[in-house]
């Protein structure tokens, strides 16, 4: 059974002055356990809206969303769904509830009414996984943006989810902090966690094994990053870029150079050229 399944999902919301916005139009999607999927699209393509359907923050106006066999439209399923699917948001500050690191990680287990000893065990485990054990008594302001995102991840890991959704987790961070977060995400996937990464940075999308491109509420492309990037002109029309390495490789190929497919990073390109 796939971990997450969407069938015919549509989502529309009313506008103030009358009329409706169709944010999602007929989405069919299956995500298996252990996958690393990235979802890219320009602002307004519906990717954040889609993400919020995966943990029941939003309910579809048509179609259904199933997480681990549980329908998100059933109210009594919601908490089980959210234990299985955690979400890290874009603004590092606005998802931290407590005044110290370890207290914030404890928030999830506290909500699940776990006994204090178990909470302590899980908090320590989660902090060790993301490498923030040394900061356990620090206030969140002492952490860099990237470390705050790691804190958010630890908070979710403490509830032992099967899947983590990241909604543009690094868009407010500089390159060092962005790398910190992306490397943590890759490590978590290597350890078996299913990952869904919403992003506009094509280099981040390239880190996944499967990429979906969204445009005006629909999934337009679904394949490996290399396959997606072959549609360079189409992507540009939809308002997206290609990673620099891919762009250069495309251009050289169009001039007659023969390069292996699947060149996604500068390192791979350099090696292929030498």
């Amino acid at each position: 059974m796939p971990l997450i399944e969407l069938r015919g999902v549509e989502y529309a919301y009313p506008l103030d002055g009358g009329g409706q916005v169709a944010a999602l139009r007929g989405i069919d999607l299956t995500i298996e356990r252990g996958e690393f999927v990235s979802i890219v699209g320009p602002n307004g393509s519906g990717k954040s809206t889609l993400a919020r359907h995966l943990n029941g923050l939003l309910l579809p106006t048509a179609g259904q969303v199933c997480v681990d066999g549980l329908l998100t439209s059933e109210p009594h399923n919601l908490w089980a769904v959210r234990q299985r699917v955690g979400m890290v948001f874009q603004n590092p500050d606005n998802q931290i509830v407590a005044s110290t690191v370890e207290e914030d990680v404890a928030f999830g287990p506290e909500n699940a009414a776990l006994p204090p000893d178990e909470i302590r065990r899980r908090v320590d485990e989660a902090l060790a996984t993301v490498g923030l054990i040394g900061y356990r008594s620090s206030p969140p302001q002492m952490l860099s943006g990237g470390q705050r995102q790691l804190l958010a991840i630890a908070g979710l890991l403490a509830t032992r989810p099967a899947c983590l959704i990241f909604d543009e987790p690094a868009s407010m961070l500089d390159s060092i902090n962005r790398r910190l977060v992306v490397e943590a995400i890759q490590r978590l996937n290597a350890e078996g966690l299913t990952i869904v990464l919403i992003t506009q940075t094509m280099e981040e999308a390239a880190a996944a094994r499967r990429a979906l491109v969204m445009h005006q509420g629909r999934i337009m492309l679904d394949g490996s990053p290399a396959q997606i990037f072959e549609q360079g002109d189409q992507l540009r029309e939809w308002g997206l870029d290609l990673p620099t390495a891919v762009e250069i490789a495309h251009r050289l190929r169009s001039m007659g150079w023969r390069l292996p497919p699947d060149l996604l990073t500068i390192d791979q390109l350099a090696r292929a050229l030498c």
Binding site: R82, N94, Q95, S99, N111, P116, R120, V123
Partner: protein, 264 residues
């Protein structure tokens, strides 16, 4: 983190840090009451010495402690002069109908001293007890009141979140103030009309940001399984240890001694 609030929590590890927050809060209250009960010199000396011992145990930098007294400067000033002029007794300076008495001088000084003691005790409490511990201590102390329908847990949660975001919002206010100043708003104008018109560019963005933040936070909390303040367990457990019993014992001993000295 570019702003410092008076009395902010310093995360060092002193003897005082290790005490239960409930014990600290109750002890602070008891000592503040003792400050007002004490009239004799002996009582004052005993109390002051005890507070100094506590200050040493807290490892708080003396300069930082004394700086917290700045907050009550004007209040103390007013109280001093009030006492100076209104306490009956032996006059030492007379200016027309205003009479300064020796007794007034003493009463004024005593009042300032008491005020300083209260502020220092509060500062010692906030320096050595994190906002979360304070909130949790209050929650446990007031837990019995849940039975009569008071929303103690919700209140604690609100307090915790407010304390967590206070530094964030202060920086935001600072940033928006600067952004509007960069657009030509004169925040330091003496003209009252100008002053009022400089509120809207400051308050509207801050309110909008606060509401947006609240919505994002609520969404994140929901996504983390929050379903209300009831039926939640806690990471921390407050337990009374030997040092707490000792601290409470000593504090009671000092206070009772002061009461005894006054009654004699």
């Amino acid at each position: 983190m570019n702003l410092l609030l008076p009395g902010m929590y310093l995360a060092t590890n002193s003897a005082l840090h290790r005490l239960d927050p409930r014990v600290k809060m109750i002890a602070a209250l008891v000592l503040m009451v003792a400050a007002f009960v004490a009239h004799r010199l002996a009582s004052h000396i005993l109390l002051t010495t005890f507070v100094m011992v506590i200050a040493m145990l807290s490892a708080a930098p003396p300069a930082a402690l004394l700086r917290t007294l700045r907050t009550i400067f004007w209040l103390g000033f007013l109280m001093f002069f009030f006492r100076l002029f209104t306490t009956p007794g032996q006059p030492f300076i007379t200016m027309g109908s205003l009479v300064m008495t020796w007794e007034g001088l003493l009463a004024g000084a005593t009042q300032i001293y008491r005020l300083c003691l209260i502020v220092i005790l509060s500062a010692l409490l906030t320096f050595t007890t994190s906002p979360a511990q304070l909130a949790y201590g209050l929650e446990v102390l007031f837990k019995p009141l849940i039975k009569i329908g008071l929303p103690v847990r919700e209140f604690t949660l609100v307090l915790t979140i407010a304390l967590r975001f206070a530094p964030v919002m202060l920086e935001e206010i600072d940033k928006i103030g600067k952004a509007q100043r960069a657009r030509g708003v004169d925040m330091d104008s003496r003209n009252p009309l100008r002053q009022v018109s400089s509120w809207s560019p400051l308050f509207v963005p801050i309110f909008v940001a606060a509401f947006r933040r609240a919505e994002e936070l609520a969404t994140a909390m929901e996504a983390r399984g929050f379903r209300g303040a009831q039926h939640r367990t806690r990471l921390y457990r407050l337990c009374i240890a030997r040092q707490d019993g000792l601290a409470m014992l000593v504090t009671c001993a000092v206070s009772l001694t002061i009461v005894g000295l006054e009654l004699v």
